[in-house]
Symmetry: C2
Subunit: 296 residues, 2 copies
């Protein structure tokens, strides 16, 4: 039995305990092998920094043109030797070419890629709706492990700007981004970016390397000319890395029934530590479990 909303007026002396329930960690332990899928090497980036590896899964169903251009940049080693450019507290970490005066050539990649702020909902065959209401989207849910918004009236869908979402920085024109500057969300979800900029993927491992970067001292958290900027050792597509050197990560299938239990475990947490069950979970607070693939 879940506490009703009236539970919060009980004093601590009066309060009955919430029943113990499986946690997200419990569900991960109970899961079966086919509740998980491996990352697709053709759509996985390794952003290698001196402090470790950031693993990014590209949302190719939601931003096919931008993802393709980023893969071109990566395969031509565009990012190697560039740096982190920006760390704005409670917002984003951004990387790419900090040298505006003498920019690194883009190689065969396109300089302008149309913004893929939304795509037709028909592009996405894997949507599973989350029941919770959301102020930023008529419907929310998950699709292949990405948190997404959806608008049935306009037949559109988009990757939501949650913590760890990766996007394509742009100037004012909607086609002014090309993937040569990317950002990851490091703060409270700035959902007002949804439908305003291309969300192209999600950091599935190594977020703490980006979120703990020192904040930049200039406007919008950009690092100044004299500030140390963490260099990018290299960025590689997992498919271009020898199989033995790839990270063996799996993401819980958002289409698997167990994933709805994961959301429910977060929506209504059990006792004894918890005293009050929210009966709600924001899209960006629904965990998306990632694990190292167990040894066979």
């Amino acid at each position: 039995m879940i506490f009703s909303a009236t539970a919060c007026v009980l004093t601590s002396a009066m309060a009955a305990e919430l029943p113990v329930k499986p946690t997200v960690a419990d569900l991960v332990k109970q899961s079966k092998a086919d509740d998980w899928r491996p990352l697709d090497p053709a759509n996985t980036l390794y952003l290698d920094l001196p402090v470790g590896r950031v693993v990014i899964e590209l949302a190719t169903d939601f931003a096919p043109q931008n993802a393709a251009n980023i893969k071109t940049l990566v395969r031509e080693k565009y990012f190697d030797g560039l740096s982190m450019m920006r760390s704005q507290d409670n917002y984003v970490a951004q990387w790419g070419d900090a040298d505006e005066k003498n920019p690194k050539p883009l190689g065969t990649a396109k300089a302008k890629v149309p913004g893929e702020f939304t795509v037709p909902a028909s592009f996405d065959k894997h949507f599973v709706r989350q029941q919770d209401a959301d102020g930023y989207a008529p419907e929310i849910g998950h699709s292949k492990g990405f948190p997404v918004g959806r608008d049935p009236k306009t037949n559109t869908t988009w990757v939501a700007h949650c913590y760890a979402t990766v996007g394509v920085a742009r100037d004012t024109d909607t086609d002014s981004g090309n993937g040569s500057q990317l950002y990851a969300i490091t703060g409270h979800a700035p959902r007002h970016l949804d439908r305003n900029i291309t969300a192209v993927g999600r950091v599935v491992s190594g977020m703490e390397l980006l979120s703990s970067l020192p904040r930049g001292s200039e406007a919008m958290g950009f690092y100044g000319a004299s500030e140390a900027k963490m260099p990018i050792t290299r960025v590689r597509l997992a498919a271009d890395v020898p199989a033995a050197e790839r990270v063996q990560l799996e993401v819980m299938r958002s289409e698997a029934p167990i994933y709805q239990q994961v959301i429910e475990a977060q929506r209504n947490r059990g006792g004894p530590w918890n005293k009050y069950a929210a009966n709600y979970v924001e899209l960006c607070n629904a965990p998306i479990p990632v694990r190292v693939r167990p040894a066979l």
Copy 2:
């Protein structure tokens, strides 16, 4: 005119521009002296770290007993020489006594303080409601610069767990916290903590010093015995610091009409960069402006 929800199906070539509107920064510039209030030195803590000062405003209307116990600990220099204990990615940074085996005495402070997870709404005379719907609370708004939830049916109110909210760590018992371990939210708002733990204040300056701490390697982000823990130089009540050494910060009055304009500026952002106005803003995405007091 604000874009309707149908705007998102326009292609970039078709899209009309959103009108230019004042930003939050513009409103801060336009504000008048009496739109701001100084921090009350009797309810302001300085958490001094080797890397700088974190300024915390205590929410004495929402957690009077916990705030009083924290002030006792601070005045008896309990925190001086202790350390940051925990940094869990996308969650919290926590500080206090990392030595469980040989704990530092609490002095005259109480070892157990009743949890103030909610208080009667009558304790709070400054609530201004925010119009947006919220899944975690029947009503949301701001009170003296704190983001709050409110339930008219139960006549309760509480400080919401937004980014920068400071809370009183506890064990399973609701009265097991005493303020000797405090945390600040460094990730996406964990609103499921609302009504489950005592939120006692808010970091108004210096959040980046806490949010950029290296993450701890042990369970829940605790630092291991061998890991470097950032020491706490000292914690002081501003009132106990000579006036000339206090930080001169002001918080925008959440009761001032201009604050509703600030929320609206975030709810519906203007062009030309923005292409789509959300017509919604989450409680924890409503900015609460803080500034250095201008010279007289």
